[in-house]
Symmetry: C2
Subunit: 142 residues, 2 copies
């Protein structure tokens, strides 16, 4: 669920990167923002087409890629062979995924850094980031 501020921020992101505010981008942005769970580019495109929006699949791909590069959406790759996109907040967070219904919950209170710092140093690494995906079954699916 995206707030109005988030949408606004996304448009600022685009503008800041020298990208134009087109109708198609707004459409993709809005649809992505309205989606609680993660979606593939194909799903997004199909939905918009079904609703009567006229935009090409390539545009959806291009827009999602731009948004991902700008940091406005996260790219998840839990289903082999296809990428899922999801609207995300700014802060560092992780995902708790329901393996039955694809529901996504954000975990914002990440407590990993001290541990990671330590073990990485032990291996001579300097960490630049980390990604945690927790899978489980949500209350509705049990």
């Amino acid at each position: 669920m995206a707030t109005a501020e988030q949408l606004e921020r996304a448009e600022e992101l685009l503008a800041g990167a020298g990208l134009r505010a087109t109708a198609q981008r707004a459409t993709v942005l809005a649809e992505l923002a309205a989606e609680r769970d993660d979606v593939t580019a194909q799903q997004l495109h199909e939905r918009l087409r079904a609703r009567g929006e006229r935009l090409g699949l390539a545009t959806v791909y291009r827009t999602l890629r731009l948004l991902a590069e700008a940091g406005a959406v996260d790219v998840l790759s839990h289903h082999a062979g296809e990428l899922c996109y999801r609207w995300c907040g700014d802060e560092h967070h992780h995902h708790l995924l329901c393996s039955e219904c694809h529901r996504v919950v954000e975990l914002v209170d990440c407590e990993l850094d001290p541990w990671l710092e330590r073990v990485s140093r032990e291996h001579g690494f300097v960490t630049t980031g980390h990604r945690l995906e927790v899978s489980g079954v949500c209350a509705d699916c049990r």
Copy 2:
């Protein structure tokens, strides 16, 4: 780096699943075991062909899939759009990846479970597993 025991275990895994011990599978197994870092099916195939081994790309894919299903190898998906395979031990562990050279270090001392248990319960989830990928830069690449 795989030990002799690991190789043996993999063959037992295959046998136990009713799978035959063929020359091609042994080749793939050995190559994967000798590889410290992660590889794609295509890379593996290319290397074996370059060395004179005669086996089809489809066989590499099939073998890797079987090994993954049997739990003998891990499947990583950090490069969008393609899957990487890596020989792995039995125990639960995570990966520390060098973003420069693709080097992989296993982190075996995972301390996440208590925290995950707690936050999952708060969201009504029962966790079934988790996966952590830490990216950084290794000592050699700095």
